[in-house]
Symmetry: C2
Subunit: 493 residues, 2 copies
């Protein structure tokens, strides 16, 4: 009989990592020997009162370090410490604890699952013929040798000029502004972070928020201030109090169709936040990755367009409106910021892939991008209608959800005491999945929340998927309520 691990749910170190350490010690001390079988994940989860995904995550980590080996249908076996090579380094000590949350295993690549897990466009909509034509034009163009040669940190100059002129026409780039091309919006965020954020700098950001954003600032040692986004949008009043009181160095906002909530700031909020940020000396980073994907309602100016004082950095990308596999995004900012971003970009990866930049320039300048966007907007309107109707029709009474007018995401808050993470495995078994809300939390996670990313699915799939979810949530709610009512009433003493 193995010793029961001492797990501390209140610790900073997640449970799966505590469990991983427990087994590592047993293997290193010889309590578990080569060939020993580990308990099945389900069994151990029951024994320790843990979620099965926690146990699986621990086992995956053990396997990735070569300490155990899983055999399909047979379970996991200790392969021992001989994989830790003689004289080897103690990598765990060298690497330290990364602090990154483990995300549950997703089944996205399984064709039979209706996955609401990824905020990305549908590949069924990809205009492959138009992509090929753009590729052909670049391949046979006179510039091809230069495109394949080492380029400049600012980006492929013809694309950079094209984007800059567009940004100027739109009023997004002001006199004194410049533009840098990055490998998608994620790199734009990373580079802005690199240039602006030092340890303990105050960074205000939406809560919940896209994990790739909060983890980036957390890795940099920033002091994160989460501003609640509820079903009716960002808590602007609270944000303005934070700006006045804490004067954060940076405020990161997704003004339109925020990920994960889908919420959008109205014009009045944009103007008011801009005024307060200016007073506080706070730099606004406006992540406008979804802004081009409005399916209903009137377009709004970006905060960058409203900003006469040059305190906003705007981030955009081709990823959500064309091909995410080609990594091309950009930032528009005052020249002094772009100059510094060029240095950071140079250190990050010299420059972004030039062939993809050249192909996307052809794709955009030929009008193909705009034609594709109309198709995407049409499809998006259908998808949005389907997901909102299905949420209203199928989710249990008491569920709240956001009503975005564009983008890729709807945010759902289930009635208490449902836990979206606990129900994920069951959803996957029944043919659908989503991302539990806790992965997006900056401060306290709300266990009942989840994100439905609908842009990758057709209206029928969306309806079917939400229907399955509704059934799972309702039946679990019934079960929990029944079990409560069955609990014996304690004797009054």
């Amino acid at each position: 009989m193995l010793p029961k691990p001492q797990l501390n749910p209140a610790s900073e170190v997640p449970l799966y990592h505590q469990l991983y350490r427990h087994f590592t010690e047993l293997i290193q001390s010889g309590s578990l020997a080569r060939g020993d079988r580990l308990p099945a994940t389900r069994e151990l989860a029951g024994l320790l009162g843990l979620n099965r995904t926690t146990v699986s995550a621990a086992y995956e980590l053990l396997e990735s370090e070569g300490l155990i080996s899983g055999q399909v249908g047979r379970g996991s076996f200790v392969t021992g410490v001989e994989n830790a090579r003689e004289g080897g380094l103690n990598w765990e000590a060298i690497l330290g604890w990364s602090g990154t949350q483990a995300v549950p295993a997703l089944a996205t690549s399984n064709q039979n699952i209706i996955s609401f897990a990824m905020s990305r466009p549908s590949e069924h909509l990809f205009p492959i013929a138009e992509f090929r034509a753009s590729c052909q034009e670049v391949m046979s163009g006179p510039d091809i040798a230069g495109i394949l040669q080492l380029g400049s940190p600012g980006g492929y100059e013809p694309l950079r000029q094209y984007l800059l002129e567009g940004a100027r026409r739109e009023g997004v780039a002001r006199p004194g502004d410049d533009l840098i091309i990055t490998s998608g919006c994620q790199q734009a965020l990373d580079i802005v972070r690199r240039v602006l954020v030092r340890t303990a700098d105050k960074v205000a950001l939406e809560d919940p928020v896209y994990p790739g954003l909060k983890n980036l600032f957390r890795e940099a040692g920033a002091d994160l201030i989460g501003i609640s986004v509820r079903a009716d949008g960002l808590d602007v009043e609270y944000l303005e109090r934070v700006l006045a009181k804490d004067r954060p160095k940076i405020l990161v906002l997704t003004s339109s169709f925020q990920n994960p909530t889908g919420s959008t700031l109205n014009l009045e909020a944009r103007e008011s936040i801009l005024r307060q940020a200016r007073k506080a000396g706070t730099v606004i980073i406006e992540n406008d990755i979804y802004g081009q994907l409005r399916y209903q309602g009137d377009a709004l100016p970006t905060i960058k367009q409203l900003d006469d004082a040059g305190g906003t950095i705007l981030l955009r990308s081709f990823s959500k409106i064309s091909f995410p596999g080609l990594r091309v995004g950009w930032a528009v900012a005052p020249r002094a910021v772009i100059a510094r971003m060029l240095e950071a970009k140079h250190l990050s990866d010299l420059h972004s892939d030039q062939f993809s930049q050249a192909v996307l320039l052809r794709f955009a300048a030929s009008g193909r991008l705009e034609a594709h966007r109309s198709h995407v907007l049409e499809a998006g309107a259908e998808q949005l209608k389907a997901v909102l109707a299905a949420c209203a029709d199928y989710l249990p009474q008491g569920t709240e959800f956001t009503r975005p007018e564009g983008g890729m995401n709807v945010w759902v808050r289930l009635p208490e005491p449902l836990d979206a993470l606990e129900l994920l495995t069951r959803a996957q078994r029944e043919g659908t999945e989503y991302l539990p809300g806790r992965y997006f939390a900056v401060r306290r996670p709300e266990l009942g929340t989840l994100r439905l990313s609908f842009a990758g699915l057709g209206p029928e799939e969306i309806r079917k998927g939400v229907m399955i979810l509704g059934q799972i949530f309702k039946s679990e709610l019934d079960r929990l309520r029944r079990s409560w009512s069955r609990e014996p009433t304690p004797a009054m003493v």
Copy 2:
């Protein structure tokens, strides 16, 4: 008459930035008003005893911030502070001082200049037809929608598997190792740095070294320990003393054809360094970007291949052996390190461009890469012969230079008191250029050193370029020696 700036050559802040600050203050205080003309760069340089490039760099920075405006043939004029928009942020305070050295303006893109400045392949050798064929195959392949869709941080899986299998066959990947694809070697370095290096960690690296490497670790606040590379190679004895005494966390080495010196570690040195690093618990990062470009002599195993204990991380790239404009490199390392690099890659840019990865996979798997490499090796042998012969024939007596057997760079040390930076402008005027050695220095820059990157040029250009340089260096040496001998001998007292 304007006040003379108080410049401090011993300061950490470079002279050009001190000069920039001086003018900023004059403009902000109103001492210089809108429309005032600044002294010509040549004139001011003479007045202050500065290099003209220093003055130009200061003016460029002033112009980039909208404080002055240059008019061709007329000079630079103050445009004033009204460009600093009302209510705007104080970007200089927010951004702080970047610490990055300004590199002199290069004329590389000028077709008429013989440029030894860039360590990159010749685009005349690019196999464009083979690139197009590889592109066609990917474009019309069955995978294309998946390639254009969001991918995984580890890289395009078929390419990742292809590279991993190759690395295993070669003995570069050991059992327990894994591979991650990055956007070129620069990003591999950046991600390794992100995962391994914290403020004040000791990092040993070659001195001189590629600036993109030292700046990366410097930005991270590492404590850099420079290990001298002289004409006869890395000072292995000193390195081993550093390993034993300082036990640095990381040792970064380019074992073959180091940039900028072209020097290569022999087998004995590799084995001995590996032993000492293991004893010291030091992680070796082996930057093997030029290893495939040996034009003479016998191939050597990489340190990674010699390392039984799993303490080495190997970095490679397609950039130097095919198309640098496609940003694809990779790292091979123990699984625990790769797992952490995946997280950092995800935060950096989600994943590298998938179309380029797929095209390079076709280019490699079809045998086209290997065929191209034979051409490059043939051309490289000619280039190397030409540059070494030209250095021997044309450079002044007393010049030392390295004799690499591959790669792209020769390192030259001119006789004292020649200063390679001072002579650069003259070289550019006479139709050639190079990078002064001081940009590669970790500790004390040697003013007489310079890097000749020969891979972008044909043998005739190489001979002509080195001949021009030889004439400039010789005539300057004569001039300096004449001026010394003319100096009055002080009276003995």
